[in-house]
Each structure stands twice: as C-alpha cells, then as structure tokens.
Amino acid sequence: MRARVLIRPKAGILDPQGVAVERALPALGFAGASNVHVGRLVELDVADASQLEEMCRKLLANPLIEDYEIVLADASTASSLREHREAKG
C-alpha cells in the first residue's frame, strides 16, 4: 500500500523557512499568501498500514517539534488517517 507522511513544524514553533517563503512571495508579485510553513514529505510502500503511526513516532517525525499526517494514497480520494497532535508543547 502506498502511503504518504506529511511532516510539518508544530504550531507555535518558529518556522524560519516558512517565514522566508512568505516574505519572498510578495516580492514576486503574489499577494495574499499567509501562514506559510515548510515541511517534509515521506512516501513509502507499506505491507501493514497500521504500523505507520509507530513509524512516525519513532523515526519519521519528532513529535516534540513536528506534527505529522498519514495519507493513504491508493484510495480514489486520498483519505487522511489521522492528524497527530501532541498536547505537549
């Protein structure tokens, strides 16, 4: 099964890459873009999709500083399994 893991900086933590992109857009004439965040995408084939959550917690993301979202890509419309947000931080 094809899966995508979207990893982004946790809300509230300064994301200087996002800030830099947000500042660059108006300079190119694109007005009205805000709340820009830059994260990572991990794509993988998995035999057992139920292991994805643990993969994220142990390796793919650092829950202290990052939120992650697991998307199974083979559904006709990609379905978001879960968006994980640690209460801490």
Binding site: P16, L59, N62, K88, G89
Partner: protein
C-alpha cells in the same frame, strides 16, 4: 581511565574529540556498528553530520548499535558528553530533553562564542566557577534549542549578544535530571590548545568529565 569517542558515518569532529580526551585520559575510538564500549569510563558523542543528517539531525544515528550501549551506560550513571551533532543525537535518543531546530537565520554559522557557566553542580563544569565565561567555537545550522528543561538543568548560556541561533532562553548546554549526561552545541574539543583554538577553555569540560569518570 578511558574516555570513548564515538564515530558514525559522517562524523567529522571525532579526531579533535579524541585529541581533547587524550589530554585528560586514555582516548578510545568507538565505532557505530560495534555495541562494545570497550570498558570506557565515559563516552563522548562528537559533532558532524551522522548518516548525512538525513531525515533530521541525529534521527538515524540514535538507532545505531553503539547508541543502545551508550543509552544503557548513561542510564547506569556513566558520564556522557554530546557535542553539536552529539547533542542532537542524545536528544533524539531521549537521554536529554528537548530538540534542536534550524537556526532562526537559516544559515550555517561558524564563530567564536562566549558561554556563561550557570552551575558547577555537574561533573562537566565542576572545574569552572558560576558566571565564568568560556570562549569556544560554535559551527552549526541546526542549533536552536527548544524544549522543557528545568532551570537547574541549564549548564551553559550564550553571553548577551552571542545567541546567534535563536535558542530558547539563550541555552547553549544542558544536563539530564541526574546530571551525568550533558549536551552542548558549541565545540569544547576545538578549544583545548591556545595555539589553535583561540582559547583552551573547552579543556575544562573534559577535565571535569575525567574527574567524575575516575571517581
């Protein structure tokens, strides 16, 4: 008395760390695939770009065979010092609280920094005095400390005007609750000889570590 220095693929400060360790103890090279710590009395996890910093700095190194042994060694009270990438690895391994984020300026910065000693109640700073300034180099892209850490766990702070990476509360170095594991972003191993390091202030941390390792 033996201090081990871990080398991962991508580590680049292991040679200087061994030279620094050799000034206060017998330096022993430890290899990432070898879980045997060879009877060392303390472990230094040096700087560099372990496993290419792929995914996140330190994320893959923490699962290497040697790190399983380092975690057991630390949990048993053995002194462990993580420098730069080593600090990132110890955070990823859960031996230290918090995490290191990209510098607010997004750039790799290499400069001499002044660090203010916050406490001497740790093995590593037992040779220092509170308020003492240590001048040592820092060089990193991902050094902005973020995390829940008790004030008494903060060992080193950047002096006013020296926090170039945006670290929370000017934190440059911390210890775990037990005080036997320390991580810092600047590089004491590059400041052990006045001739090439700008100062020999970094040597104090190794002397302190060796003092407790032998005790």
């Amino acid at each position: 008395m033996k201090l081990g220095v871990v080398t991962f693929p991508g580590t680049c400060d292991d040679v200087d760390a061994r030279l620094a360790a050799a000034k206060v103890a017998d330096a022993v090279a430890l290899w990432h695939r070898d879980p045997d710590l060879h009877g060392v009395d303390g472990v230094i996890v040096p700087g560099g770009f372990s496993y290419g910093d792929y995914l996140r700095a330190g994320a893959i190194a923490r699962f290497s065979p040697v790190m399983a042994s380092v975690v057991s060694f630390a949990r048993a009270g053995g002194p462990v010092l993580g420098i730069c990438n080593g600090f990132q690895i110890l955070c990823e391994a859960g031996l230290l609280p918090g995490a290191l984020l990209p510098n607010t300026g997004l750039r790799f910065v290499c400069r001499q920094v002044d660090l203010v000693v916050q406490t001497t109640d740790t093995p590593f700073t037992s040779t220092c005095t509170v308020g003492e300034i240590l001048s040592i180099p820092a060089k990193h892209t991902t050094g902005r400390f973020f995390g829940d850490v008790a004030p008494e766990q903060v060992v080193l702070r950047y002096a006013p005007g020296h926090n170039f990476n945006g670290s929370q509360d000017d934190i440059a170095g911390i210890v775990n609750e037990q005080g036997n594991v320390m991580g810092l972003m600047p590089h004491p191993e590059h400041a052990v000889d006045r001739l090439v390091g700008g100062s020999a202030d970094g040597l104090k941390l190794f002397e302190g570590m060796a003092r407790v390792a032998v005790a």
